[in-house]
């Protein structure tokens, strides 16, 4: 399978790869796992919240 990524996407992939100490393939795998897990939770009717610990604020991450 060939991926067609833009320059910006390739750069983001590179940066994550360095930051996470992972190969680019491994970064994409992590992204896929996370995406699938979130989708599964949303399908069960769960909601995803992000918490801003500094502002002590929680809000829903809309992923429709």
């Amino acid at each position: 399978m060939t991926l067609n990524l833009s320059e910006a996407e390739m750069q983001a992939l590179d940066e994550l790869s360095v930051k996470k100490d992972l190969s680019k393939t491994a970064v994409l795998r992590q992204a896929l796992r996370l995406y699938q897990t979130i989708e599964a939770r949303l399908e069960l009717g769960h909601k995803l919240f992000i918490e801003d610990t500094l502002q002590n604020d929680k809000s829903e991450l809309m992923l429709l």
Binding site: K20, D21, L22, A26, R29, Q30, R33, L34, Q36, T37
Partner: protein, 204 residues
């Protein structure tokens, strides 16, 4: 390691003999069935004493069953979750489930992905809090599997877990993991992590 079963060797505590076993890279119906048929009854005998003073009997045993089955069913088919089982003499001796969606917390590796051990349990007859555990090596085989998976996934052997109170010395001393202290967000269980270096030492 990620696909088919792989060989493991346990030790029979009484005879000292080597016991051939296998590590499965999934938790299937048979393992759940073993859990229901063999683990729970043995466990309930031990818990009967504790339960006497606490939550009414009608409430609890079902709930343990629920939670395990509930979580297993919810996770089925998801890439981020992997189950492992150690089988010996045709019976499930230990179970583990890991989550690949977690990041490390230890400052030296903060933000880097690790294999998080969500759940690890050995069969009641292998627990060292009863008179003589039948087989030794089950827990180690499972932790080894977690570290192997971490290496396979490019996570360099990093793993993380929340230890039960009585198990802390195993992770700290026998496995050489770093102790990050009690986690107030998780039942106050102590959170441990293994670094890449610790993983190398562990596998040596």
């Amino acid at each position: 390691m990620s696909e088919g079963p792989s060989p493991v060797i346990l030790t029979d505590s009484s005879s000292g003999d080597a016991v051939p076993a296998i590590l499965l890279s999934q938790i299937g119906e048979e393992q759940i069935s073993d859990w229901n048929q063999y683990w729970r009854p043995a466990l309930e005998e031990t818990l009967a004493r504790l339960r006497a003073n606490q939550v009414p009997k009608s409430r609890w045993p079902q709930s343990a069953h629920w939670d395990w089955e509930f979580k297993t069913k919810q996770m089925r088919g998801l890439l981020a979750f992997r189950g492992f089982a150690v089988i010996a003499q045709g019976v499930t001796q230990g179970l583990m489930r890991v989550d690949l969606n977690h990041n490390a917390r230890l400052p030296a590796q903060a933000g880097k992905p690790l294999v998080y051990v969500e759940y690890l349990e050995t069969a009641p007859w292998n627990r060292s809090d009863i008179a003589t555990p039948r087989y030794r090596g089950v827990g180690s085989a499972l932790i080894t599997a977690a570290v192997d998976l971490s290496l396979e996934e490019d996570f360099r052997g990093r793993i993380g877990l929340h230890s039960l109170t009585q198990a802390e010395s195993f992770y700290r001393d026998a496995c050489g993991m770093s102790d990050l202290g009690p986690d107030t967000m998780y039942f106050n269980l102590r959170y441990f992590e293994m670094t890449a270096q610790q993983a190398t030492a562990f596998l040596r």
